[in-house]
Symmetry: C2
Subunit: 387 residues, 2 copies
């Protein structure tokens, strides 16, 4: 069986749809404010609530019958060997794409409810006589890396967007993310050595666009989605040993019909600092800034283990950093003192005007964190504590 | 050997002195602002820096020769069977006491440097012919819980406070915390069963005050501390199986001399919600508020494991809550959605006007957190993410 169980489970896991948050702050969306009084809907006699008010940047999530509505394909086991960063960035990147079409001020989120567990299972498998719906290619019999037909599609993710009506919410559109492999890992024999087929960007893009068109036609057959807005995002899975997740490389919007008339190219890149294995940094200036920051804080505190960063670029410009600092500290006040010092150093050395998240952890877990939103000058800092 | 190695190490661990942070925010302390340019001191030809500017509520820490100065007794192993909450609240509680005498706007913090590793070792042991400095009582030969002489003093913690001079910092005072047992755990034979001696509040207070007086006389003999302000805090260690740390019950300030003229009683209490083992909540109204919050969020999200809180009371009034929520979530957007809902529920159900920290964790560690400072109405929320 070429289609491994681990790929199958990984694919299904990601079909857990999506819903999002509103952080603290301004309530700009009066339409969504009736969060706690249940409202009967006209068509299904269900009651609707949302998780809270949106601040306009994050979605409110729709709840049904007083509960959070999980996807039907929730709860399957994730393969621990795969890259957890892919899971996170696949989902958060799709949410970002969704916001381009479905404004959080107008639409509520719901985990994907239209692609069922068995459907996702079937789509992620290879096409075969017993699985005509399979989106991955038929097995051509070869097990050679360059001759076999690789598994292109690794994950599918559906997000639903609902519009408020006078008494309830109705579906307005869905976003579908397709996670496409850069490297397809496979075994020639069960439990055997792992081999790799590397897939070119051109081939990945071609395959992804064809799959999206097939999915569009299938979704249009569903009555609720016949006239809904359907958005696609094509995502390149990072390699299993990558220290950062993959990125979206194309997106398209279908307002109606079964053809996708226009694909928009997304120029995203993720990186890691400090660079390893003589790789080149995406941007030397940003790498230097991080290096100065790292040197500064390591020179001050003797017990510091590691300082690493994930970076995200769009069109060549740094969009944000996630910095992880590992310590061997255990004292409450030493952590507080260190957090203060990191705050000082971050303001002085790290690139300005981008969102930055810094977590400081010991073997016992997170000890403190600092966060700066886009456009802010100061970091919010918090040291975790107990009584 | 009655004085167990684990107690010994635990005691030493806590001698790691202290230093603290300034969070983000207003810089009110111009005196401490020269943080990055090293200033030579007149007496030791060392250079001084601080970790950052204080916001007036937290200390800046003094750094020496460009490095964070750890206590000489740092790095010893903590006994994993002991209560980690004690370690944290012993230290953070002492910092709170210190602020009463040494304002963060005027003084910088430094880990304890005056009680050496060997001295702490000696003080924490029993008094004996070979250890005359021991603050714990002589072994009376009995191993019966009610007849033996228990170990009263479990931990010592020193914090140093420095005043800015024209060119450097000089010691202005120290704070000494004494961690005193409510229950002394002991073995009659090595590796044998654990027995307990329970110590009354009256006896703990009497012993703690006598020890403080002895320590005061010893510290006054050190030239640098002869005229320094010396503050004491007496702390009741929580039992090993407690889900919350202990509390300080008395404090005193010595401006000069070797007598402590006045002890101030501190009326602090820590609790856990929901209450367990048919215990009574410290305050029924607060327990009801928490229960409503817990019920509300558990009814909404099917995959929620646990919701617990630590509470801290002073003079019978709730001073803060630390809430831990465990989930089985793994989706980015589900965590965001849940965080938004917790925000809504916390504002509606939890007691107003007190600081509250809420962490949401899965088996993979912290996923998001919410924090409200004293006096604030809204929670700051943050969902951790990666690229």
């Amino acid at each position: 069986m070429k289609f491994s169980a681990k790929r199958f489970f990984l694919g299904l896991l990601s079909l857990v749809g999506s819903v999002a948050l509103a952080a603290c702050g301004n309530l700009q969306n009066a339409d969504l404010s009736g969060s706690d009084t249940s409202t009967s809907t006209s068509n299904k006699s269900a009651s609707y609530q949302i998780t809270g008010n949106t601040d306009g940047t994050q979605y409110s999530a729709l709840l049904t019958d007083g509960k959070y509505k999980v996807s039907t394909s929730r709860g399957l086991t994730v393969d621990q060997n795969s890259n957890a960063f892919n899971l996170a960035s696949f989902e958060s990147g799709l949410t970002t794409i969704s916001k381009g079409t479905f404004s959080p001020e107008k639409y509520a989120f719901q985990e994907g409810q239209y692609i069922s567990r068995s459907t996702a299972n079937s789509w992620l498998k290879r096409e075969s006589s017993t699985n005509e719906e399979g989106l991955n290619p038929k097995d051509n019999g070869s097990t050679e890396p360059d001759k076999r037909a690789p598994i292109y599609l690794q994950e599918i993710l559906e997000q639903d967007f609902l519009e408020r009506t006078s008494t309830s919410y109705k579906i307005a559109g869905v976003t579908i993310g397709l996670g496409l492999n850069e490297i397809d890992y496979y075994q020639k024999v069960q439990y055997g050595a792992t081999f790799k087929t590397t897939i070119s960007q051109a081939e990945r893009e071609k395959q992804g666009k064809e799959m999206a068109t097939k999915i569009l036609a299938r979704l249009r057959k569903k009555k609720e989605l016949a006239n809904a807005t359907i958005v696609f995002g094509l995502y390149k899975q990072a390699a299993n040993d990558s220290l950062v997740g993959g990125t979206y490389f194309a997106t398209a919007v279908s307002k109606s019909g079964t053809t996708i008339s226009e694909w928009k190219t997304l120029n995203q890149e993720n990186g890691v600092l400090p660079v390893v294995n003589n790789q080149k940094a995406i941007n030397d200036g940003d790498a230097d800034s991080f290096s100065n920051f790292k040197t500064k804080i390591q020179s001050f505190f003797p017990n510091l283990s590691g300082v690493t960063a994930q970076t995200h670029y769009e069109n060549g410009t740094l969009q944000g950093m996630k910095i992880k600092i590992s310590t061997q500290f255990f004292g409450v006040n030493e952590i507080q003192s260190f957090t203060q010092y990191v705050d000082t150093a971050a303001k002085r050395y790290l690139p300005a005007n981008i969102p930055i998240e810094i977590t400081i952890s010991s073997v016992e877990g997170i000890q403190s964190f600092l966060s700066r939103e886009s456009g802010d000058k100061d970091f919010y800092t918090h040291v975790f504590s107990s009584y």
